[in-house]
Amino acid sequence: MAQYLIETPQGKWEIVCGLEIHCQIISKSKIFSGASASFGDDANEDVSFIDAGMPGMLPSLNEQCVHQAVKTALGLNATVNKRSVFSRKNYFYADLPQGYQITQYEYPIMGKGKISIDLEDGTEKEIGITRMHIEQDAGKSIHDLNPKKSYIDLNRSGVGLMEIVSEPDFRSPAEAGAYLRKLRSIVRYLGTCNGNMDEGSMRCDASVSVRPYGSSELRPRAEIKNVNSVKFVMQAIESEAKRQVEIYESGGTVRQQTCRFDPITGKTKFLRSKENANEYRYFPEPDLPPLILTDEYIESIRAEMVELPDAKKKRYIEQLGLTAYDAAVLCENKETAEFFEKAARGQDAKKVANWLMGDFFAMLNAKHLTIEQSPISPEQLGKLVGLITSNAISGKTAKDVFAIMSEKGGDPEQIVEQNGWKQVTDSSAIEAVVDAVLTSAPDNVAAYKAGKTNLLGWFVGQVMKQSKGTANPVIVNELLKKKLG
């Protein structure tokens, strides 16, 4: 992959970036209470007295959140810490009912891990993951309903989160984007987070600094909070890096700071400097003893692991003969991969992949449909490819069949049958048509024999016309050549 550098007349600069991703854990109830963790209910409906921070209320840990965290850790090729400790992070905010967030600090549930990201040129890069801890989400403040007041909804208060912290391994916005997509793909495969950034179930903080190319120093960084799409994360990193380069080149210094990305201007906006950052007074949560996991528990979760995108991609390349690019595209999304595998069952996988990534994706795009909403089932797409492979229909007919399947749905075999599109491969039947055509055009036969061989196309056309397009063109060609000598 070509080096990504910010080049100015004064020099070359390299980006140093790390990401902190908050993933909302898929579970029925909240991490420390039995209230529903579902999304979109009426304000303060999914709130227990625990989530509201009422006096005397105590947290109790949801087993599923632990399970999901361990599963995620295994998916990130990471160490699962058999002993982890919950801590309190103390700060005041309107949507933080207890006045502290229960999180993990010194002893998180997951230690070091790594994943590989797929870059545009088909190469891979390994990204280090520092840690992951589990914690509770805060509620929501709504600022735009009343000119004088903010409204507090505690439905999200206490929903389980996994915070995944990467090493500062990204050297370009594209790498950060690829990592986000990969991480999203992994948690979706695992079913531990739905990865929907627009709903806030996956949120990204990016810390960005720059340094002169070739240097290994680490300069003060800006932390960009809560960016909510892959595109914005990439834009935010790029614009923040450029801002810092400008400051350095004009002789200034960059202060450690927290900022926010404004999607409208495409620029980062200063929020606060790190010097007066919150003093969080972390200490071990006295309401929860340490979380101890056994080897048996971890192994039982390992046993239920699904095939993850990297393993799948490798299998597609090695066993199905797909290109690295096709394999990566098909594997990114679990639903796409599932669709592909169902469609390719017993069929020519490469042909299925071509159809899927070509006409099929184009059709979904044009109709604004997700793959789950496809009017064509994977089995039907597989059958269509099968009809082509077995010469039952021509590639051209297949396009017509596909168009009908897209509009009205239906089984490709039936569509071919109903329209009489089945390709004739019986050479004696074709021979009869050929003979008829030759008999009816003695002048052209003579002209051909006299050397006007470009008339072959005309003969083929006539045969196809008389067979209503069902004659196999290969056989037609062979027979004509033979008979015309």
């Binding site: 579970s27 029925k28 109830s29 209470s33 039995g34 209230a35 529903s36 009426d42 304000a43 303060n44 409906e45 999914d46 709130v47 227990s48 007295f49 625990i50 989530d51 509201a52 109790s60 840990l61 949801n62 087993e63 599923q64 959140c65 632990v66 400790v85 005041f92 309107a94 403040s141 709504i142 600022h143 309903l145 009343n146 000119p147 004088k148 007041k149 903010s150 409204y151 507090i152 909804d153 505690l154 926010r260 929020l271 003093e279 007074r281 200490f283 071990p284 006295p286 929860l288 003893p289 340490p290 979380l291 101890i292």
Partner: protein, 95 residues
């Protein structure tokens, strides 16, 4: 480690408490008395001693993932000093 006026102000700010400037030095003195008193702990050799935060050191028992709580909107809001449309309300927070 005796604290000064500014530190007392900062601690109060962190704790979201207000100390009248007039009471500041009194508070500081009291504070320093207590700190000096607790600092007798420095006499104790705690090398290689693990800090104790969980007295019986039993493992955490988890609860099953079931929705058993919530749908208590009225009860959740009933003690609130100010609510509107089912929300708690506070003075507008400007980001």
């Amino acid at each position: 480690m005796a604290v000064d006026d500014q530190t007392v102000r900062e601690i109060a700010e962190l704790a979201h408490l207000k100390i009248d400037e007039g009471k500041l030095s009194e508070t500081k003195e009291e504070f320093n008395k207590i700190l000096a008193w607790v600092e007798q702990l420095n006499e104790v050799n705690t090398e290689n001693i693990e800090p104790l935060s969980s007295v019986h050191e039993t493992a955490l028992i988890c609860r099953p993932d079931e929705v058993t709580d919530g749908n208590l909107k009225e009860a959740v809001l009933q003690n609130a000093p100010a609510t509107e449309f089912g929300y708690f309300t506070v003075p507008k927070v400007v980001e």
